[in-house]
Symmetry: C2
Subunit: 397 residues, 2 copies
């Protein structure tokens, strides 16, 4: 099975009362039977949550025993008390497996600016520690414990046959981007039983994140809590991966991250379209990324897609203001395979056909072709609907 | 009267048929009785409209006789034929006053990607040339001829008593930002009878625009056509302005530009709030501007204001992801004068009172205080409502 718990890990997800609805899980505990290698990639926001600060100080590591995640409260903008609470969470999670605080990592997501209910967190960790397991039900509970306004859990995995051994890679993620009222954050934890050292894990994770979680945007509002962890138990054995095996592992890691990343805008609240933006022919990959992100975050592009309007002028003008030097006379654009704009000039097309192709399917594909180099990127976003505005304009504070 | 036609100019606004509604004016002609000094500031979009290209080549100038503006068609993304059409518009407007094509400037706003109806433009220029005048009715018609989805015309002016002479400065603008379906663009023409040379005019205009039109955002989507012109007839006489007089003129120019700039988000379609963002204590003015713009363009901040939600976490986290190095532990925030966040920590406040202060008035004031330096900026934006989405998701192409 592609999605299974990698050897050496046990998981649990419980309801401990941070969320008022008792049917919603709000705490996940993941433990490694022995010290595991862990790498992390975090939000670039200068205003970052307490658990992000904790994890930054403790990754990469080769001695991680526990990861605790709570949903419903982000422990962000909470000052020194927030830092103490994150440290206490780490200490409690570590204690549950007889480890030291520095051997635990902490993830939080939910409301900004409220202190964590530490009594509930402590009870939740104790309860979760009593329910740890290695089967699919435990994996599902763990994936559910990190959700906020997500409408579904997000899991992806690969079983890899490497030279003389098999390894399992399984990832879970949460995020409807920053869409939930007061909610924020994209979190992901990737588990593997492959043998990886810290530097290899950190490098592989950073690259996989660059092409996946860093290529999604719902509303461009960067969270205070974004975290992606890769944790490797090494239980699959066989020593360090040879070059070919490592390449295969990195490819699988890239695929799993892309699958999980794409699931976030696909679950964007209020969204009626998942938009895939391919930029090719840019001066560099960074230029392609900047162009794609500018298009992805234009409210005029997003509302046009919501309205099934093949409004190429909005896309082309967004390319133009991305801040990247480019040859505007060479821009071409396809929407859902239909050529609408070719080398800087409009192309006659049947608007009704292209509109129907947007309206009648959930996926929309924008292909932007430039002639500035060989930089390319694939980026995912949502459309922008009146429902998004309604969900986020409600009074909550 | 603060708003009057400066000496040396005549204006007209007519309906020539670019817009289908005959009650809507769609062509403005402004002529200077003698060659005037003209300075221009234009969109930074790499995909810029044909008239922007024409004006860039012909400003600054000391020989401008005519300015022609059409609304309803942006002449953007129209390739070489668009360039020819812009040149023809200049030629026709110049010919109406017996001048050469290079003595005319051209502004267009409206639909992207359609060729101008040149027969209508030609007839419109002829009609407008027959109706030129210097009184308030002519000024109003000229201001109306440049509107697209604006709900009202935008005029501002100052009468300045300088040493030994009086000068008049009057500006008109259009723009509901990029909000109209397929429409775009902010245009402004500032007329004065003061004596200015090209370099002085260009420098004064660039600085005034930096603190006004460059400090507004409705949806962050930069137009292909943005243009601000300052045209000085010199008819007030008295030779070049002395240092004190020039300073007074520049101050007035700054005020008029700020007044017109602010009128654009105030008229943003679908908007229910005009939001003024003051950033102080940033490392530099550029840093303050980047922070203000990031906050202004966060859909989560904008929807919170639409919903009268004093959601300070969204504002503070937007400050954090602006990309500017800053001391996050020193951030303070007031909304409508209420302190909600002080030096990196939440402050207890009465949410109902702050919410009412947002809900019950059209103006919302965000004050962001940092401790990184003395950079400051004032920035204006709108909230984001479901009505904005509806207006822009309609099928139009």
């Amino acid at each position: 099975m592609a999605i299974a718990v990698p050897s050496g890990f046990r998981l649990a997800g419980v309801h401990c009362g941070i969320k008022s609805n008792p049917a919603k899980l709000d705490l996940t505990l993941i433990v490694s039977d022995a010290p595991a290698v862990a790498a992390g990639v975090y939000t670039q926001n200068k205003v970052f949550a307490a658990p992000v600060g904790w994890n930054r100080r403790h990754t990469p590591s080769r001695a991680i025993r526990a990861i605790v995640v709570n949903s419903g409260n982000a422990n962000a903008c909470t000052g020194p008390r927030g830092d103490e609470d994150a440290a206490t969470m780490a200490k409690l999670a570590a204690a549950a497996v007889g480890a030291a605080p520095a051997e635990a990592l902490v993830l939080s997501t939910g409301v900004i600016g409220k202190f964590l209910p530490m009594d509930k967190i402590a009870a939740g960790i104790t309860a979760a520690a009593g329910q740890l397991g290695r089967d699919e039900a435990h994996l599902l509970d763990a994936a559910r414990g990190m959700l906020t306004t997500d409408t579904r859990h997000k899991l992806a995995g690969r079983r890899l046959k490497l030279t003389a051994r098999e390894v399992q890679l399984t990832g879970m993620a949460k995020g409807a981007a920053m869409i939930g009222p007061n909610m924020a954050t994209m979190l992901s934890v990737l588990l593997t039983d492959a043998v990886l050292d810290e530097q290899t894990a950190q490098h592989a994770l950073a690259q996989a994140v660059d092409d996946s979680f860093n290529c999604i945007s719902v509303d461009g509002h960067m969270s205070t809590n974004d975290t992606v962890l890769l944790v490797a138990s090494g239980v699959a054995g066989g020593g360090a991966l040879a070059a070919d095996d490592l390449a295969a592992f990195r490819a699988a890691l890239g695929e799993v991250c892309a699958e999980l990343a794409q699931a976030i805008p696909a679950d964007g609240e209020g969204a009626t379209h998942l938009v895939t933006i391919d930029v090719a022919g840019a001066a560099s990959r960074a230029a392609a990324h900047k162009i794609a992100r500018t298009v992805a975050e234009s409210p005029l592009v997003k509302t046009a897609i919501a309205g099934a309007d093949p409004n190429w002028g909005r896309v082309v003008s967004a390319v133009g203001y991305s801040g990247v030097p480019l040859d505007a006379a060479a821009i071409s654009l396809k929407i859902n395979g239909h050529l609408l704009y070719q080398r800087g000039a409009p192309v006659a097309f049947d608007a009704a056909t292209v509109s129907a192709s947007i309206r009648d399917q959930r996926d929309t594909h924008l292909e932007i072709q430039l002639a500035d180099g060989d930089g390319r990127v694939r980026f995912w976003t949502t459309d922008l609907t009146a429902e998004y505005v309604r969900l986020n304009a409600d009074y909550h504070t």
